[in-house]
Symmetry: C2
Subunit: 349 residues, 2 copies
């Protein structure tokens, strides 16, 4: 699908780099009172306030992280922002500003880039962050998107990966494995389309899984709840590589072990059914799927009462001594070692 799917294809060359930047930034306005200067100078300017600035950055590469055959550009722009905001929330911080850099090949039209930035703008509005800068350049092939997100927090509120201790309770903010199965569906329909171009893709009945893959959300609600009930997890990470892999980061950095109760891991019915139709074990999808962007966190036992009324939370296990390693307690009563099998971009190819 090298040709544009857009009726009108305006060559980016007609605008030039600065014309394109003007075009894509004209609909953005600065909402944060700390955003002193947005795009248009050598650098953006943010007024410092009392506290700490958190910074996270992610790069999305066409052909590695997304496939233009089934990724709507608006969703791609939205997701590129969300995956970065997710990292800011995972520090128990509030995202405030982002920069977005893109490199695009000549197959992308002004209309395509406009749609990408509509998704970026939508995410900025929804999460109340300002686009304050970026870079726009060409690539010999495909699209690359690099987003840097900045957030603010009181240093005392920050939650790192290294604070979990034996006895802490392990929680997750939502169901897992759905984004991975959404990707499997898209890949299957792509293969069917490639071999039988006339066949309509079966996407309608898989809306939940597809949305989890194509348009994930970051867990702002969890951070707001922690603030409301005045509690702070002992360790936190966002589930981007898969529950097992991300839990391993917490265990390694906190020098602890952990166990997960298989029966407690939240799995959406659509995830369950679709996993079975793909001859996959639903718990395997939930443990290793990745890209769910839920928050995985540990809390002190004494805070258990405080999360009782948290709108979206599932207690899935417990932190143990490092010597106990990382275990899965199966519903059948067995204990398995858990290994990280999450996404490894270097091994994927």
């Amino acid at each position: 699908m090298e040709k544009s799917i857009y009726q009108t294809h305006t060559d980016v060359n007609t605008l030039g780099e600065f014309g394109l930047i003007d075009h894509i930034t004209k609909d953005f306005s600065l909402q944060q009172r700390t955003s002193l200067k947005g795009p248009g100078d050598d650098a953006a300017v943010i007024q410092n306030v009392s506290g700490a600035t958190v910074v996270s950055t992610d790069m999305l590469v066409e052909g590695i992280h997304f496939d233009m055959m089934y990724t709507p550009l608006k969703h791609l722009g939205y997701k590129a922002v969300v995956v970065n905001l997710s990292d800011i929330y995972a520090m128990n911080a509030t995202p405030t500003q982002i920069t977005v850099s893109i490199a695009i090949s000549s197959k992308y039209s002004v209309e395509a880039i406009t749609e990408l930035y509509e998704g970026i703008a939508q995410a900025c509005r929804f999460y109340n962050v300002d686009l304050i800068g970026g870079d726009t350049t060409s690539s010999p092939k495909g699209m690359i998107i690099s987003v840097t997100a900045l957030g603010q927090a009181d240093p005392a509120d920050l939650v790192y990966r290294n604070g979990a201790k034996p006895g802490d309770i392990l929680c997750v903010t939502g169901d897992l494995g759905a984004a991975y199965l959404g990707l499997q569906i898209l890949e299957r329909e792509k293969q069917i389309y490639l071999s039988h171009p006339g066949v309509q893709p079966e996407l309608e009945q898989n809306q939940y899984l597809l949305e989890r893959q194509l348009k994930p959300e970051a867990q702002r609600g969890a951070i707001e709840y922690f603030r409301k009930v005045k509690m702070k997890p002992t360790a936190m990470i966002d589930v981007s590589d898969g529950l097992a892999s991300d839990l391993m980061h917490i265990c390694k950095q906190s020098n602890v072990g952990a166990f997960i109760e298989e029966g407690k891991v939240p799995i959406h019915p659509d995830t369950e059914n679709t996993a079975i139709s793909f001859h996959l074990d639903p718990i395997t999808c939930a443990l290793h799927g990745g890209e769910d962007y839920e928050l995985l966190f540990a809390i002190d036992e004494s805070d258990l009462e405080k999360i009782r009324f948290m709108p979206e939370v599932f207690i899935i296990g417990e932190i143990t001594e490092a010597a106990d390693g990382l275990k899965l307690h199966t519903t059948g009563g067995n204990i398995h070692n858990l290994t990280a099998q999450g996404w490894n971009h270097f091994k994927e190819k």
Copy 2:
């Protein structure tokens, strides 16, 4: 040159993403007292101090911004940092932290990435900035480097592009056109090598121009001087796209015109000689070449005394009324209109 030039080629897969991150960040240490947390968590953490944070980001794409055939990886890493720091200095701010994201294809070995990060580390040490985070992923083809630089300034010290006014004096911190001619030499030698692989490239006698292209420096000294003599330019920009193009940004945003005295534009003797050998007009190279990373700034007439002892400064023209446009006063006494013909990445291809 798809094959590695390194004697030892260790496949990146042997380390995995997290192993690679550990490998490349192990030699970096945090020097800035504001760097509370570097790589290894969901986000880096910077202690806010009184003032403002400035943020700039640039993306470098293989085949567009650099050619691996003649770009040493260590220089590439150094330059990727410097071009971003240059933007921070152009705000009259002090760079403090950077994030670096890279996407690499399988042709790059661990040794190659190590060399790239040696260059990044060297720039960090020289400019006293901390590498606090980034992303490491794979690309289907070539290398992409995205750097975000953060800096600090008192908001009252910040210099934007929009403060120039008629009567202001136009200055530049160093000679122009050298980086462009360095690139021309590299391109010429590449073509010779491609058609006659046995011929040794003629690079020794062009050291100055090649260094300006491959290993540019950012103008920290100018910022330090402004602070020392307690002065502040009325407008400033770094010369990345070419003198004419970057001056046009100042003129457009300040709503002024300007003239440049041809005879005052600093051109290195090597630039002059090499331009002639390429049948190019040296002043054209200086006006439109780009990538020199000198600072172009305007000062109030009353500050003229203050820059008298500035170690590296050249007065090249004056700010005029907007209606006067952008002019070049030639040494022959003629007046030409100046148009921006700098790099346009979308038109290059």
